[in-house]
Amino acid sequence: MDTLIIDDNPTGIFLTTRLLRRDGQPADVITSFVSPVEAVAFFRQQGPTDALPHVVLLDLNMPLLSGWDVLDALQPLEAHLLGRCVFYVLTSSLAPADQARARQYPLVAGVLHKPLDGMTIQAIQARVLETLPS
């Protein structure tokens, strides 16, 4: 399960990467962006045949572009991304409003609360295997 982490906090990226390494497959490719702006640019520059990550873990509370802003910016690419790439909001916030808001984005499969744990990672893997063509 190739995963892209978008999180402005390097410690958050370190933690999520290590948890994915521990509970994922050895061949998984894990990449990250500290800057949400660069993450959006990455998706915009993707050609039609380029390899996309299977899963994107998106932080909400970031300077300049929040996680919601990133999703808004990716809206024009939605048709291209749907079915190829599953987004999860990964936040330390426990605000119930996040769930409702996330449902408005077809790209987003769910809201996860930090920290990730082994069970959640396995659940994501199961879902990715189910929905994405291998």
Binding site: D8, N9, T11, G12, F14, L15, T16, R18, L19, R22, V34, S35, V37, N61, M62, P63, L64, S92, S93, L94, A95, H113, K114, P115, L116, D117
Partner: protein, 360 residues
């Protein structure tokens, strides 16, 4: 000995005349056609008209058109025998608009209503205080939300890192790195709590702060001197143009903090392409509002994107530079504790200008 006789009670007429003449409430006596048959001195004072231009005139003449219908309806209800009470916000005569708590009371004679008394109490202060409380409650709600979020972030990270520590090999480099990150997260958690202490301390003293006449130029010079080394290191210049006799009623420590924060920001967010230039200017004094401008030629920020968030707690706009998003929040709190207002204008790659206005 027989008890001393209590003084005789004044006649009803004297008592009620005294009440009518001296109460701060407006009292009118009206007929069915809304003609004012009697008005007390408080009403005459408010509309600033002599008795002759009030009595025998229609009350409508003293009210803005938008409340005419309301008053007609309430007067009718009172003439139907009901005591009615309602709130309104309106000007009366040439007075400024105010909030009024109005009561209309029917006067009965031989089983019929012959007239209606109106008593209107000015509740403007109370309404304003209430609005202030509502605003403050909203602020507190927002504050609590931000605090809980900013406490949970490092805490959640620490929880995850502790989970990791349980499975990393104790002698591996990852173990050591995890431990270092854990320490940083806990430190971050501690910082947030310390910030809360700082903010609450300012809020606590908002109304108690020791205000004194502080010479503005002196405080700014002090800040510039303390930052001189950093300014020199980056080849920057700070120009100060503040009249020597201009002082501000303020808490000196708060005033220092305001300029320290603004100048530190100018240094932190300077543009790499050109030497930093900051100018601090102020005008005012002698009964006029004080207007302070702190302008730089730094990297600026996208004001449209930042919106109203610039002064919000823990909001940040420069992802590649260190900062917690506390400085401008504190600056705003300090300015407001002096009864002032701060605003900002910024353009990317051109610079940022902060304007502080403190009323006299």
């Amino acid at each position: 000995m027989p008890p001393k006789a209590s003084p005789p009670i004044a006649t009803s007429e004297v008592r009620f005349r005294s009440l009518f003449d001296n109460t701060p409430e407006l009292i009118l006596y009206q007929n069915e056609k809304a003609i004012i048959l009697d008005a007390n001195p408080a009403f005459l004072a408010l509309v600033a008209e002599p008795r002759g231009r009030v009595v025998d005139h229609c009350y409508d003449d003293f009210l803005p058109p938008e409340v005419h219908a309301l008053f007609r309806q309430k007067l009718e209800e009172a003439f139907a025998g009901k005591t009615v009470r309602f709130d309104m916000f309106a000007a009366q005569g040439k007075s400024a608009p105010r909030h009024w708590d109005v009561v209309k009371i029917p006067l009965w004679e031989n089983g019929a209503v012959v007239g209606v008394h109106m008593i209107a109490r000015d509740i403007t202060e109370k309404m304003l205080a209430q609005q202030e409380i509502v605003t403050q409650n909203q602020d507190l709600q927002q504050f609590t939300y931000i605090v809980s979020h900013n406490l949970r972030a490092p805490l959640a990270t620490a929880l995850g890192l502790v989970d990791l520590l349980g499975t990393e090999e104790p002698d591996s480099p990852y173990f050591e790195e995890t431990r270092t990150h854990l320490q940083a997260s806990l430190h971050q958690l501690d910082l947030v709590l310390r910030d809360m202490n700082t903010i609450l301390a300012i809020r606590d003293q908002k109304n108690l702060a020791e205000a004194e006449a502080v010479p503005l130029a002196e405080v700014v010079q002090q800040v510039v001197q303390n930052l001189q080394e950093v300014v020199a290191q980056c080849g920057g210049t700070v120009r100060v143009a503040i009249p020597a006799d201009l002082s501000l009623r303020a808490n000196r420590a708060y005033l220092y903090s305001i300029f320290f924060n603004l100048l530190s920001n100018a240094l932190k967010y300077r543009a790499d392409e050109r030497p930093l230039e900051v100018s601090v200017t102020a005008t005012g004094g002698e009964g006029k509002e004080t207007r302070i401008t702190v302008a730089d030629n730094g990297s600026g920020f996208d004001q449209q994107q930042a919106g109203d968030d610039v002064f919000r707690l823990y909001k940040r706009f420069h992802p590649h530079r260190p900062g917690r998003g506390l400085g401008l929040y504190l600056t705003k709190t300090h300015v407001e504790s002096m009864g002032g207002h701060i605003s900002v204008h910024s353009r990317v790659a051109e610079g940022t200008r902060f304007i502080i206005v403190v009323p006299y």
